[in-house]
Symmetry: C2
Subunit: 314 residues, 2 copies
């Protein structure tokens, strides 16, 4: 068993969070991860507040284990979502794209652990000062919205910057990545891409197959020109968008190019128009399996590697 | 002692290569690293063939320990350099920016170990098939010319792709990074940025201070538009170049913007016009020290972490 301060803080068996992936992380995936002893996370960036409430109730109906909700702070209905989460007293809230400072007192009063995703030690320090319980240091090798810093460079620098536990995210899909994260100083890991291949993950078959077939250089970052870089699998859409970024297209038209492309990938499996978010570690994700098996494999692998780590020292 | 197959192959005490940094890695730095028990590496991308020969002779005059030379395969005088290295029978040749296939038979006949830098498992497989002795899997968090893949995602995928030893590069400056690299499957590490702060590193005082003062988000990648991305410290030059990439400037004028900027950083310490290449791990590099001390600290740290790694397993 690999048991850390994050397990204790959140009440989970394995120190693993399932990433809150927009349009993807629903009750089905979150419940499967939480039942397996990790922390399942519902995305609040996919629909209206009523949808989020339904997902929370569905996870609760499936398991008494802790689970979390991820809030994109740049979303439209954030105030409403924030109140819902306090009312529902979910175990954990993770946040993305900003500083959740204004919601922290309300959430903490509801007994919620607040764990922001941070792309830099500066934001890590800020949220720690605002009362965050831990931070997720996410490297830009991850899928979806990305920062520039990578996991290898970011995690130790965030660990030096704050006294709260650090969870490493980005580029982790097996025991090697998990073991490396612990060496860097992390007390847990967050995994997104590997869960795209979970049996309980409700994405289109086309999307799932694209992840399973991806090699190491299958991803591309688009959106840098408008300041919102996103990593996805190379596709007709992402290649066209990447090319357009250096053209004389207006910012508005560029923005419009992206509209509806996540939905087209997740729901419709539209190879041509879809934006298939995924991380660089897609190349290590090669079979569809139950979430429980994905988690067990990661930690069995990590345990073996960590137990043998002193073999390097002669 | 951390002793791996790379130590044995190359005849070094510590499994660490000092990166061959263009315009920077001269006999002074390479000799210091090799004397300390790592593999010092001279850059062949800084000057003409005569300069490289002088540097080789200078390292030989300083130590009998093995050292290497790094060849940028896109350089002008590559054939001439390749022949020089065979004639001088250096211990190791590392290569960048391509496949060194055509030189491998000549180098191997001279008893040289050939260790290409690779940004993908596809190139790793190609060079392994061509007879490379090992590969350096370099993540894009490193300074200088960068690929898109990060160390965390690249190293395990390259380890799965080839049977020869893998050396991890990018984002490593202390024992944590080294220990993480071993967990990912690497048999050694290559370090660049941390050696910019070595006492024996002949860069301008301005450059050295910029590295010592850098925080985690101090770097920026420029050059993507022309297909040659480069990571450097944020500076008036790099910010202006990054802005120009999305403007209507011609490719030719954009290319010209970069001319002479490395020299301006390394030799002149020109804050305004210099391009100060450095990696994301600059934030962990906080003091100027002898190369020997940098190496000892990395491995003392890694040894401690690796010896204690099984503490994670309950």
């Amino acid at each position: 068993m690999i048991y850390t301060s994050v397990c204790e803080m959140v009440g989970i068996k394995y120190p693993i969070f399932q990433g809150g992936m927009a349009h993807i992380s629903d009750a089905s995936l979150a419940a499967a991860v939480s039942i397996a002893g990790g922390l399942g996370i519902i995305t609040a960036a996919s629909g209206d507040t009523a949808w989020v409430e339904e997902q929370i109730d569905a996870v609760r109906a499936a398991t008494d284990n802790p689970f979390g909700v991820n809030v994109m702070l740049m979303g439209k209905n954030v105030d409403e979502i924030a109140e819902l989460l306090a009312r529902k007293k979910v175990s954990v809230v993770t946040t993305g794209a900003g500083n959740p400072e204004k919601y922290i007192p309300m959430w903490k009063e509801a007994g919620i652990k607040v764990i922001p995703v941070v792309p830099s030690s500066a934001l890590a320090k800020l949220v720690a000062r605002s009362g965050a319980d831990a931070v997720i240091a996410e490297g830009g090798e991850s899928g979806g919205h990305v920062g520039d810093m990578t996991t290898m460079a970011l995690v130790p620098q965030v660990c030096d910057a704050v006294d709260i536990p650090v969870i490493a995210a980005g580029g982790i899909a097996d025991g090697r990545g998990a073991a490396a994260a612990f060496m860097l100083g992390a007390q847990g890991i967050q995994v997104g891409t590997a869960f795209l291949a979970a049996k309980e993950c409700n994405i289109s078959e086309v999307y799932k197959k694209k992840v399973l077939n991806a090699g190491d250089t299958a991803t591309i970052v688009t959106g840098r020109r408008l300041g919102h870089p996103v990593r996805s699998l190379k596709s007709p859409f992402s290649r066209a968008y990447a090319k357009a970024e250096y053209s004389d297209i207006s910012d508005e038209d560029l923005e419009n190019m992206g509209v509806g492309t996540l939905r087209a990938a997740v729901k419709d499996g539209d190879e041509k128009h879809g934006c298939f978010l995924a991380g660089q570690i897609s190349g290590l994700v090669n079979s569809e399996r139950p979430a429980a098996e994905i988690i067990k494999d990661i930690f069995d692998g990590a345990e073996k590697i960590l137990n043998g780590a002193n073999k390097w020292v002669k």
